[in-house]
C-alpha cells in the first residue's frame, strides 16, 4: 500500500526531444499535459512557472505549449500550485483543468473535490491531476543556502538541480557539477514535510518520478480511470517510449524501499507529536494530529 492503488507501472520517457531538452527526468509531466492540451482533454494546466527570483517558482495557468515548456524541471522549493485551482475556473475560464503537484498538493486537491467548502464549482472541473514523487521540499531560503553556501554556486548560474543516490546535485551553466550529501540538507527541510505520509502521489491520476528508472527515464504509475484513459491515448499517439518496469533497474523495489522509509520515519514523527509536551500530572501533552 505504500505505493497506493495503481493500474499500471511502467518506465517511460517522452519521444519529443524538444521536451526532453530541459525536463527533469523523462519529461512525463510536460509531455502528458502538452498532449492533453492538443487533444482538448484539458483547457490548461497549473504548473510551476518562472518566478521573480532565480529558482523561485510561481504557479501559472499554462494554456499553451510554450508556457508548459517554460515550466519544465524541478524546483526544490515550494510552488503553491493549489493556490490557482479556483482562479483557473474563474478569470481564466477553464472547464477542464490540469494540475501538477507534489503528493501533499494532490491530497489538497482530492480533499477539495470531496469537501469543496471553499471550492465551489471546482470539483467537477478537474480533468487531469499529475502527481510527482516527493521525499521532502525546502523553503526558498533553505534552497538558497544549500546552493550558494554548501555548493558554492550562485542561484542564477545553476541550470539544473537534482536529488538522487544520496546526494543533492547542482549543475551550472559552464557544465560544472557540485554535490553535497543529503544529510547536510536535512536541516533545511520544510517542517511540514516531516508528517507527510505519501511518497508517490497516491491520489493522482498519473504519478511520476525518477526513482526506479534509469537516468533520463521516469517511473510512471497510472492510477485512476481518468489517468488510464489519457495515458492510453497518449501511448497510442506515440508520445512515449516505454519499458516494462520489471525490466529496468533498479525498478519498483527501490521505489517501495524509499516510500516505506519515508512513511515509517514520518509516521514516527506523527506519533512523537502525541507526547511532545508535558501536562502537570506528568502525562503527555500533544501537538495536533492532522490525520484525525
Amino acid at each position: 500500500m505504500v505505493l497506493g492503488n495503481y493500474k499500471k507501472a511502467v518506465a517511460a520517457r517522452s519521444t519529443d526531444s524538444g521536451i526532453l531538452s530541459a525536463s527533469q527526468d523523462g519529461g512525463i509531466v510536460t509531455q502528458l499535459f502538452a498532449f492533453a492540451l492538443d487533444e482538448g482533454i484539458i483547457d490548461g494546466a497549473i504548473v510551476a512557472g518562472p518566478g521573480a527570483e532565480p529558482w523561485l517558482p510561481e504557479p501559472v495557468v499554462a494554456t499553451t505549449r510554450a508556457e508548459l515548456l517554460a515550466a519544465r524541471g524541478t524546483r526544490y522549493t515550494i510552488s503553491p500550485n493549489m493556490a490557482l485551482i479556483k482562479e483557473a475556473t474563474r478569470s481564466y475560464g477553464l472547464d477542464k483543468v490540469g494540475i501538477v503537484g507534489t503528493p501533499c498538493q494532490i491530497q489538497g486537491l482530492r480533499k477539495a473535490q470531496l469537501y469543496p467548502l471553499g471550492m465551489r464549482d471546482v470539483p467537477d472541473k478537474i480533468a487531469l491531476a499529475i502527481g510527482i514523487f516527493c521525499m521532502e521540499n525546502f523553503p526558498y531560503q533553505g534552497l538558497e543556502t544549500m546552493v550558494e553556501d554548501h555548493c558554492n554556486v550562485k542561484m542564477e548560474s545553476a541550470v539544473k538541480m537534482d536529488i538522487g543516490k544520496g546526494k543533492f546535485s547542482v549543475y551550472t551553466e559552464r557544465g560544472a557539477l557540485a554535490q553535497i550529501p543529503l544529510k547536510l540538507t536535512h536541516k533545511y527541510e520544510q517542517p511540514g514535510c516531516h508528517v507527510c505520509l505519501d511518497y508517490v502521489s497516491n491520489l493522482a491520476d498519473v504519478s511520476t518520478g525518477s526513482v526506479g528508472s534509469p537516468d533520463g527515464w521516469s517511473t510512471v504509475f497510472v492510477r485512476t480511470k481518468v489517468g488510464d484513459g489519457v495515458w492510453a491515448k497518449a501511448l497510442a499517439a506515440g508520445c512515449f517510449e516505454t519499458k516494462p518496469i520489471e525490466e529496468v533497474k533498479p525498478g519498483l523495489d527501490l521505489v517501495t524501499k524509499l516510500a516505506t522509509e519515508k512513511i515509517t520515519k514520518n509516521q514516527k514523527t506523527v506519533e512523537a507529536r502525541a507526547s511532545f509536551g508535558l501536562k502537570a500530572d506528568g502525562s503527555a501533552k500533544a501537538l495536533r494530529n492532522p490525520y484525525l
Binding site: 483547457d43 494554456t63 482562479e87 475556473t89 474563474r90 478569470s91 481564466y92 475560464g93 477553464l94 472547464d95 465551489r120 464549482d121
Partner: protein
Amino acid sequence: MSKVVEISPTTRHEGHTKLVLKVNDDGIIERGDWLSLTPVRGIEKLAIGKSMHQVPKISSRVCGICPIAHTLAGIEAMEASIGCEIPEDAYLLRIILQCANRLHSIALHNILSLPDMYLPGTDTKINPFTPEQPVRSVALRIQRIREIGQTVGEIAGGEAIHPSNPRVGGMYKNISPRAKAKIYDLAKEALPLARAQMDFMISVFKNWEERPMASVANGTEVEKNAKFGFHDQGYMASAPLYASTSLDVDPQWNPERWTEVRPWDWYMGEMEIDLEDASYPVGGTTKAGAKAWPQMEACTGVPLYDGAPVEVGPRARLAKYRDYDRKGAMGLQIARQMEFPDCLYAMMEAADALDTSGSVLADEIPCGDGTLGWCANEAPRGTDVHLAKVKDNKVQWYSLLVPTTWNFPTCSRALEGAPWQLAEVIVRAYDPCVSCATHMLVVDEEKKVVAQKLVQ
C-alpha cells in the same frame, strides 16, 4: 368596524417579515403595514473604523441574492469618497457582473412568484418543484438561466455569491480571452431561454390578472379588486442598468431629496388582533387577542424621496427610461420579466468592448479625506444607495439605502383595497429581499453635513 389581522411570518421571500392589516367587514385592506422583523446586524455601525477594502465585502453579505449590487455599491461609494476613477476595463467587468446577477435574480424571483399563479388555460396552481410537465421544463429552464448568470458571475467576479474580484480601485484580475469568449457564448445560449421564460411568465401574470377570482393555497376563492396592488407613489431610478455615483458629471440621484423617517412616525401603534383565520395557509394567521405593535417591531427605517415613499426596481427603471406604465402588482412583475433580454444584450456588449490585456486597477488609490461619496446601484429589485465617508483608508461613516427599504412603505400603500388573503401576493411582487433592509436612520445632524458638503 375594521378589524386587525396579522400574517406572521410571511413566506416565499428572503428574510423575516410580517403583515399587519386593518380590514373592513368585506375583508378589504384599509391600511396595511408590511414590516421587516429581521434582526438588525448593523452593518452601518460595525463598518466604522474598518478598512475601506473590507467594508464592501461585509456589505455584500447583507444579501446573498443580490450580493453583487451590494458589493459594487459599497465599493463605488468608497471610490466616490476617496475620488478614485477606475480603468475602463474594470468598469466593463463590473457591468458584466451586474448583468449576470440580474439574470439569476429575475429567474430566482420567478420561482418565488409561481406558486401564487395558475398554469394558463387551467385552474392548476403552479408548484415549481413538481416533476410534472410542463412545469418541470420551466423549472429546468429557470435553473439553466440561473446557472448561466451565476457562471458568468464566477468568471467576472471570482464568485457568484459574494463576488471576490471587485475591489476599491477596480478589480483584482482581468479575465483571459478564453473567459471572455465563454461569457459571450453563455450569453448567446441564454438569450432564447430568457426570451421564452419572459414570454411564459408574462402570459402567466396576465392570465392571473384577468381572473376575477384567485384562490389562496387552502382552496378558498377570493374576489380580486380591479386595482390589485396599485399605488400612487412616484418612481425612483438612477440608471437603466448600472449605477450613478457622486463622481458622475451629471449624478442621477440626489441625497438632498432624501429624508428618513423612523418607524415610530410611520407605522401603526399598538393594536389587538381581532380577526383570525385558522385555515389561512399554512398554519393560520396570528390568534385573536394577541398584540401587534408595528412601530416598535419594525426593523427598518422609512426612506422618502421628495418627502414621499417611492417605488424602486424594474418598473421604476422602465418608467423613467422607457415610458413603461403598467400599474399594479402584475404590472411590476411584467416589468421585471422585460428586463431579462436586456441583461444579456448588455452583457455581450460589455464583453465585446473588454480588452483582456487592459489594466483593471487604478494606478493610484487615494486614502480619502472624509468627503461624502455615494453610489446608487440599480440592483435587481431597485436602487441600492450606499453612502460613505473614508479618511486615511478607514470608513468613518456608512449608510445603506437598500431597495427593500424604499419599497416597504410603497408596498404597504399598494396593499390598500386588496382582499387581505392576497396580501402576500403583492408583497412577493414588490420585493422578496428583506435581510438587506436593516439600515440605520440618519440623524438630522448627519443630514446637514450631507447637504453642506454637496453645496460646497
